[in-house]
Symmetry: C2
Subunit: 218 residues, 2 copies
């Protein structure tokens, strides 16, 4: 009976993940992966049959890393404002842990959308189910700006993720170290939370406050 030594196979996969994240599929050679793992060049094909099959397997894992936690938060039975703040905080945590992830995902989907399409279903789930209903309910009650979910998600995650997509650019332009970028990103995250919550909720609240004040006066 087959008894795979997972240690070698997984060591190779971890090394490949690291290289793919940094250089992308097109920029990575089979020898880059072997070198990073400190293993023989033939082992990639021995364990994973081809560079592309290894890549697809890793992409699946990384796309899950990109989505899963956010989807879980969207499904939590909590208030919408609280939920959106949690999503942004989780996004920040994820990108701090793996800063290359967002650009990697975007680049590879851009390169080979058709082949990687099946992996996108999880992202679709994000926008369905109780989250959409929750938005509709909040909008109906006038507690939230009327906005379609297709616009809401990029509003929530876009501005912060963009900072990590352009991480190398910002670091060069502003002469930042890794630590300085961490500080920068954390501060930016707080700006984004304020801005998004302000746009989606506060304006409504403030308008209500004004209305209340006016009614009190009259």
């Amino acid at each position: 009976m087959k008894c795979i030594n997972l240690s070698s196979e997984e060591k190779l996969k971890e090394a490949a993940k690291s290289v793919f994240l940094k250089k992308g599929f097109a920029g990575t050679t089979a020898r880059d992966i072997a070198d990073a793992a400190g293993m023989n060049i033939a082992l990639t094909n021995y364990y994973f049959r081809s560079k592309e099959k290894l890549f697809v397997e890793i992409f699946r894992d990384l796309f899950s890393l990109y989505c899963t936690n956010t989807v879980k938060i969207l499904e939590k039975p909590i208030g919408l404002k609280e939920k959106i703040i949690e999503v942004i905080e989780e996004d920040y945590r994820m990108m701090k842990e793996e800063p290359n992830l967002v650009l990697f995902i975007m680049t590879e989907i851009h390169r080979d959308c058709e082949n990687l399409l099946p992996e996108l279903s999880k992202y679709s789930e994000m926008l369905k189910g109780m989250f959409v209903e929750q938005i509709a309910e909040e909008v109906r009650l006038g507690r939230m700006r009327d906005i379609e979910v297709e616009h809401l998600m990029p509003i929530i995650i876009g501005s912060l993720q963009f900072v990590f997509v352009g991480k190398n650019m910002y670091m060069k332009v502003h002469g930042m170290s890794e630590e300085q970028f961490d500080d920068y990103a954390r501060t930016h995250k707080d700006h984004v939370i304020n801005m998004v919550v302000n746009y989606l909720f506060q304006d409504v609240d403030t308008m209500r406050e004004i209305r209340v004040k006016e009614e009190t006066v009259l």
Copy 2:
């Protein structure tokens, strides 16, 4: 005296630009470029000496396309709110014209930051000069939220550019055609303008309005 036929050299460069924008440096072969131009494979090296030298020349052009118009707007002698709206509108116009540009810029700087560093100086200019002074003045007068310019620019351009970075992903996830994405992006642009202006100015205005109302009452 040397008399270059610009028609062939420029035809090659335009073809290369198109291929590089779509596939990136690592994903583009010399034969891809020759095929796209309908020219002989040797001509790339005849006119540009190497694939990399051709790429750097094209990157310079495209980075300029990415920055120049925005910098011009930032230097205009107009109000800050008006200016920020103009920047977002110009960003949208640019990305509608060349949807692959932002992801291209981000990917290539990520790949080879050191070599492409000299090209980044223009982006730095963006953040200097009268724009910074204008922000400081507006903040001092209490007409604008207190925010550092390093955070302001990603706040302004990040959310909208992110939508174009993830264009292929959104199109697949939401099953959009090119025309539908155009509509989607235009609507999103308007959301971004509202959100950003709201965050930077409206809150201050509204608070002032409230204060004025209170004073009127008392």
